[in-house]
């Protein structure tokens, strides 16, 4: 992995020092609150319901075990002993004290970590496929491009005061696990020759209150022009994006107002100028590539891999975990292991300091000292020899990290919701609790198969409800939590926004509604068909009928009955 060098470290130390000065000036009254707000947001610090919240950057979701230990230290020293993984592969701490944040950042800087640009109207953390470098369907490891983009976007002087936040995702695989169609810029590697990497460039995707699927702005972009082209997009957006209404300020609104052709024309014009000004030399690319070489795999691992067959046969719990929480690996004799942060009863994506420390030591022992965070709010140990799987499973299970539910209904994506977030209209964690309680049989979950549930506590959509197979959006009605459901959303190459099911339902009925939806699916499905495929075939109507009954009745009446 890319390990920060001397100048990266200097930058982090300087940024900590600078931020400490900004906090001091705010606390002494020299910096007005509205100005400090903008400055602290650009360093990931929010003022939330109960306390300041800090979002720490995990560039493209990649961590060394030392960094994971530092995250545990931060949780224990400055927070209440845990952190929360986000859908953009970062980690959030919810219970901080403002005066301590500079010290916290100084600690993070010691292991090359920071909170730079994890919030505010700037280019945010670059996210990517959590299976980068190990996926069988990969064209090229996208992380070298992520790191080039990370450096380019860090404290970029022209783009520090954009109209609104700006999110970039990159994938190098055929299957899109990074939701690139729903980012401000989505980059998809489509070809790799001996000398060149070719990207397809998407622009204008996004969720929130006006969800849009992105559009292709350029079908083929050579990697050497990646930074100049992205810079051209940013410049057009910075100059023309709306600043009069924050709800209309994202690039998706501009792209749709101008139309993709006109937007493309303007970007290409700008690009003609920038193409020589923002060079990316072949040697810079090849040098960066050396940081993302494959680990030193044990070629004898494949000979001992058979041992796992024996363990699978004698231990059905292990077999269930293997089936659900591990994936094929490019390297013979290895598997990709998901560390589930979706234990029933826990908030999705939450992880405690002792758990983080355990994961760090498992990473050292079994997976080349590296850990990844996923868009789905889990962790991944990407390079585990199959002969070690049984031991690893036992270790993970002892710490509540082996719930065999990856890809099932229980693997829900969920924002912190009304319990933590000052923007939320409704709770979201209560929904996950209700669903976990109602659907607590693993056999039932396995029978349902692959299904993506995504829950947001408000229309800002941090839980990505628009692109869940079943999406849940919290809305407030007369001071109570109600939920609006959508069906048929998808985040990948088949990306689509979900369709509204019908009227909102009250919190007390959410599990009943899910049961009706799932029963509909089980009745309607063809053999082997996933929920999303059944929905695509039969549409929303059969689901509506089972949830709301007679279509003439309102949701409130039929559900309250």
């Amino acid at each position: 992995m890319y390990v920060c060098n001397e100048s990266d470290r200097t930058l982090l130390q300087e940024r900590v020092h600078q931020f400490r000065g900004q906090v001091d000036r705010f606390l002494s009254g020299d910096l007005p609150e509205e100005e400090f707000k903008q400055l602290r947001l650009r360093n990931g610090l929010y003022m939330q319901l109960h306390a300041p919240m800090l979002r720490v950057a995990i560039p493209y979701g990649l961590l060394s075990s030392d960094q994971v230990r530092m995250l545990a230290h931060v949780a224990r020293t400055y927070d209440r002993g845990y952190g929360h993984m986000t859908t953009r592969q970062n980690i959030q701490y919810n219970w901080l004290k403002l005066e301590q944040v500079p010290d916290l950042l100084a600690d993070l800087a010691r292991v090359g970590m920071h909170a730079i640009q994890t919030s505010g109207n700037v280019v945010r953390n670059i996210s990517t496929d959590h299976l980068a470098g190990v996926a069988e369907d990969e064209i090229e490891d996208p992380r070298l491009w992520c790191e080039l983009l990370r450096q380019w976007s860090t404290l970029h002087p022209e783009f520090y005061w954009l109209p609104r936040k700006f999110k970039i995702a990159v994938t190098g695989a055929r299957k899109d696990r990074a939701a690139i169609r729903f980012h401000d810029i989505g980059l998809r590697i489509i070809e790799r020759t001996d000398t060149e990497t070719i990207f397809e460039v998407w622009v204008g995707g996004g969720l929130g209150r006006s969800p849009f699927k992105g559009q292709v702005i350029r079908e083929r972009l050579p990697g050497k022009h990646l930074l100049s082209y992205v810079e051209a997009i940013l410049r057009v957006y910075n100059l023309l994006g709306r600043r009069d209404n924050k709800h209309k300020a994202r690039i998706k609104i501009l792209v749709n107002a101008l139309g993709i052709e006109e937007f493309r024309r303007r970007v290409e014009d700008e690009w003609q100028v920038l193409i020589d000004q923002v060079p990316l030399a072949a040697q810079d690319i090849s040098k960066m590539r050396t940081h993302f070489t494959q680990p030193d795999y044990d070629t004898t691992a494949v000979e001992l891999a058979d041992r796992v067959t024996f363990d699978l046969e004698r231990d059905s719990d292990f077999a269930a975990w293997y089936e659900r929480n591990t994936r094929a690996h490019r390297q013979p004799g290895y598997r990709v292991v998901y560390v589930s942060l979706k234990a029933p009863g826990e908030a999705p994506g939450d992880i405690s300091a002792p758990q983080l420390e355990q994961v760090a030591s498992f990473a050292d022992r079994y997976s080349f000292g590296e850990v990844r965070t996923t868009h789905g709010q889990n962790l991944v140990l990407a390079d585990v020899p199959m002969m070690d799987l049984y031991n690893l499973w036992q270790g993970l299970r002892a710490h509540g990290l082996a719930t065999p539910n990856i890809g099932t209904l229980a693997d829900m994506i969920c924002c912190p919701g009304g319990d933590y977030c000052s923007l939320a209209n409704a709770g979201s964690l209560n929904v996950t609790r209700d669903l976990n309680r109602r659907f607590d049989s693993l056999d039932y979950l396995y029978d349902l198969g692959e299904i993506e549930i995504k829950i947001s506590g408000c229309m800002n959509g941090c839980g990505h409800h628009h692109i869940g197979h079943i999406g849940v959006l919290g809305v407030e009605k007369h001071g109570q939590d109600w939920y609006q459901l959508t069906l048929g959303g998808a985040s990948g190459e088949d990306g689509a926004l979900g369709e509204r099911l019908g009227k909102a339902v009250p919190a007390a009925k959410i599990a009943d509604v899910f049961e009706a939806l799932l029963t509909t699916y089980l009745n309607e499905r063809d053999p082997g068909e996933r929920f999303i495929d059944t929905w695509r075939r039969v549409g929303t109507e059969p689901f509506q009928r089972n949830v709301y009954g007679d279509p003439k009745k309102t949701a409130e009446r039929s559900l309250a009955a």
Partner: protein
């Protein structure tokens, strides 16, 4: 109103406020007015300072910029970042090499970014601590771009 200016050495220093007012400070013209004047043939004297607003089309200004010894770019709010792109376009695309001054809601923590986008003259609000403001240029020494 204090002005910081960039020296050829790259360092910044406050402009001597006791210096005589240069003739160039006498007239500031907006892009719209300047284009009007040109079109109607009413240009009487050579205006030295062009004032650009965030929504001004730089394309319209492209052919004009070399007529000005100084261009001011206005920041109506410190959070409005259009001026940074305008400065870069003027410097790098149109080859403008006169004085480029940031005016309006210009704040201490943005000075280094303004410098890096090509401003060499900064108009700061009254009451700002100049000694402290000058430190802003040296806080971050590592630059990726």
């Amino acid at each position: 109103m204090a002005i910081l200016k960039k020296l050829p050495s790259g360092h910044w220093q406050p402009e001597d406020s006791t210096a005589a007012i240069e003739p160039t400070d006498l007239r500031v013209v907006s892009l719209a007015d300047w284009l009007d004047e040109k079109e109607s043939g009413r240009t009487q004297e050579k205006p030295a300072t062009l004032r650009l607003l965030p929504a001004d089309s730089l394309r319209a200004a492209a052919a004009e910029v070399k007529n000005f010894e100084r261009i001011e770019i206005e920041f109506p709010s410190f959070a409005d970042g259009r001026g940074y792109s305008q400065a870069r376009v003027l410097r790098r695309c149109y080859g403008y090499d006169g004085e480029l001054r940031a005016v309006g809601d210009v704040r201490r923590d943005e000075l280094d970014f303004l410098d890096r986008c090509g401003f060499d003259s900064l108009q700061l609000p009254d009451g700002i601590d100049l000694t402290d403001a000058l430190k802003a240029f040296d806080e971050i020494t590592v630059r990726y771009q």
